[in-house]
Symmetry: none
Subunit: 213 residues, 2 copies
Amino acid sequence: MDKKTEQKKVFLEIVQQLRQLIKMEKIQAGEKLPSERVLSERLGVGRSSVREALRSLELLGLIETRHGGGTFLASTHKHQLVEILSMFILEDEKSKKDVELTRQIHEKEAIRVISCTETLQTLPVWDSFFVKLEIEGTINCLDVLREILITSGNRLSLKIWFQLAAYDGDRLNRNSTEDEKLQIQTMLKSMQLGYEREALKAYEQWMKNVQSI
Amino acid sequence: MDKKTEQKKVFLEIVQQLRQLIKMEKIQAGEKLPSERVLSERLGVGRSSVREALRSLELLGLIETRHGGGTFLASTHKHQLVEILSMFILEDEKSKKDVELTRQIHEKEAIRVISCTETLQTLPVWDSFFVKLEIEGTINCLDVLREILITSGNRLSLKIWFQLAAYDGDRLNRNSTEDEKLQIQTMLKSMQLGYEREALKAYEQWMKNVQSI
DNA sequence: TTATAAAAAGTGGTCAGACCACTTTTTGAC
DNA sequence: GTCAAAAAGTGGTCTGACCACTTTTTATAA
């Protein structure tokens, strides 16, 4: 017998089933979920149990509920989560640092991958960043990193990065400063030319800059 | 008026109040919380509302509940946020290759960190691995990697690695072959001496070996 | 026909009560 | 003093009810 699953909490199973349902019905971000009453009937459980599962997911920011409107699959998981986490979990600096370091682990690896792959180096998107930097003089830091992660091609790493950026990326979701402009340009140019170590060096300089903000 | 807060979700306020209560009563990790019925009375809300808040905190791993026993404040850092998120992330990410690559991202970074930190290089655990390899001629691959991840000191990275290893690490949870013995020894020795690149090279050779198994 | 307001239906928010399963505490017989 | 039975305490779940709010439908007036 599978003793590990047979004693699982029921409301956790509901969470699982909800995940399955979302997958089966191909519910996209922002779209509506079945109502609580419908869910309780379809899953064969009481409405209160459904609500316990939904409230958990809401606290995680995975769904959004509108009084009288319905329940919706969240487009961006962030809202209360950061608040709750900082309230209970991320109280000590060590945890915050770990989130930042782990996010950077994925960013550095993406830079390495791109610097070692010619087909990724020559993508037009990097040039478009240069153009934007020259014309507007600045660029959204998070946009640059997101593009790097996307380009690197590891979708799982990208998903993890999204989660980490949701906690830690506030300092990055802004336009770059004058100092950063140079570091970003150096990093992108090195990446394009396949200079892995130079790209990483410029990235680390950039991140030092970010820390002081 | 503070219109932003006056319309907040009630169950979120209960979460807040619970936190206050924990602080006020100086409830330590592992200690018991008031029962659901008592809480609903003290907070002036229905028991189901209390439960919705408690279930949310349980999903985050901040509290533990024992059927018939009570609700207890979880010991710190036992939160299963990563586990929950990985449930949602890994569920629809079927690419085994991405899981493997991402797991290796974390392993490589851990090797880098140790190779650059003298206090980590000189830990006796590495020597114990050498002794075990010489006496028994083999060692559990997963044990070596786990120790590396633990030693690197990034608890979040470690948590993510555990999840990835649970999906992908079956091939690693075994004793090393004769070929691998050399690669592991080279990797560990290079790490001890601070030879980052050599350690990574040996690691990558090792992983190539793993793939063919 | 179109526009608008009223009514109805749908949905989340909350509460109260009931019953079950399990654990802890108390009781009482030995 | 021991130990088993009974009682009390507690979490787990379901049902039904009512409220507040939103969306849809319907009815009325322009």
